[in-house]
Subunit: 302 residues, 2 copies
Amino acid sequence: MSVLLLNDDDVRGRLDARTAVRAVRDALTAAHDGTLQAPPRVRADLGDGHLVFTAGHLRAEELFGFRAYDTLVGAEQLVAVWGSDDGRLRAVVHGDELGARRTGAIGAVAVDAAARPGPIRLGLVGAGTHAWTQLWAICEVRQVTEATVAARRPERAEAFARRAAEELGVRVRAVHAVEDAVRDHDVVVVATNSSVPVLDADWIAAGTHVTTLGPKTVSRHEVPVALADRADVLLTDSLAQAAGYGEPHLFPADRMTALGAVLAGAAPGRTRADQITVFCSVGLAGTEVAVAAALWESAQRN
Amino acid sequence: MSVLLLNDDDVRGRLDARTAVRAVRDALTAAHDGTLQAPPRVRADLGDGHLVFTAGHLRAEELFGFRAYDTLVGAEQLVAVWGSDDGRLRAVVHGDELGARRTGAIGAVAVDAAARPGPIRLGLVGAGTHAWTQLWAICEVRQVTEATVAARRPERAEAFARRAAEELGVRVRAVHAVEDAVRDHDVVVVATNSSVPVLDADWIAAGTHVTTLGPKTVSRHEVPVALADRADVLLTDSLAQAAGYGEPHLFPADRMTALGAVLAGAAPGRTRADQITVFCSVGLAGTEVAVAAALWESAQRN
């Protein structure tokens, strides 16, 4: 049995959203019930930057592994998975596609758990990789009846809309004003690198679910602090990671609920249709390992 | 340019001792002059064990990477190398062969630097993987006129001797008594898992070079404490790693010299033929990355 080695093209060709969503949903639940061990990231000093490792041990699946990335040159990432039953290396996935798609899948699980039931109108702020993989995965959990995208550079929003029509069959409207991608949508995904809020909390309609993927610390945040006042439920995929940035999280830690706890029925999520829910995506450690393992399992079946 | 993925068989087939010795010699020198950044190992908690990472950044070669191993199930190891010029993953080597061979190569560099010049009579205590890779690499730096091997299980020593004749063309005599593999040899390699000394310091003749690969802390050590009294020069491949075990090193830290400093001419090694030199092998971090990079370079040329 040889090791499965996959690059970005392989991941794009082989990873379907259903597989990714299922793998991260299981991992989120496992993080809640304690069968996923996902320790804080560790870093090795390379002089002008670091190698950073986020590890995960999925006890029930008898899998462990890690993601490695660097802050030296921003090289391609690496995810490795071993079986803990036989100690064999199963898969090595390199590049940036796997990480982005598992983040998309986590966001989709949050949407599925916290957005109002039924088809959705989706607003996207940002037209980069993360906006794309959120859309890719959300289409797996909900019917997207219409979508709107706003980006700092309009041509990127337009390219995003064309790609969505071609690859996902979703009609996406590119707009110039962020406000038009936020107001009057059931789900709003904010996926920018902005250090300052790109939207006004008042634009969020009652009943909306918001996912924030970009900066979310007290000094740098793409959504406004006031969003916490408007929100009824604040979720994150990892309370430990949300608390583990160099500086405090934008939102108060004591108001945050683990998505895994909601999935397990151990904590309330949305309880009324008019509530606003906010998901702060931090990228639960171990989820890359879970998705890489799912790719390995698919390869064994085919 | 695709990533080079190698397993143990590939390493056995592709890695020659000359390449391994050259790569680790360069890395040892780079550790001395500061162009190899080799930070302390870091570990991520998997619950019932750890994932451990030893990283290295070879600035002059524009390479960085790490070795990963676990204490959960003792799974196969993984070494990954990136180019820091283009950020591309170059090679992934899995299994245990690479690590053992680079340890052999480090030992060979120590023999070349510290043993008396000329052909050698080699004594080996232990007949496992590490004894084997030391012999493999030492044959690259010195003519081995005769060799003797002793092991706790005599049949393993005999199998070792047969393999040495077949694969390396070296005549090795299997003996029952450790004393016979130690007395009257120019180089003695001790490669056991023993927690208590397997030899007597008085057996070491004047002029001998000794390498110890096994346990070497104050409470667990395969060579006797008294060896420090007999030794004129105590070397190690990493002063930081030798000092970084959970408990103190067998020998006083202030008497230890870095092998890289000797290679660079910055510290004296052996200065007289009748001196006893002792090399404490700890496995300088970054040397696995250097050897994996050398395998990648060979593959580019072929």
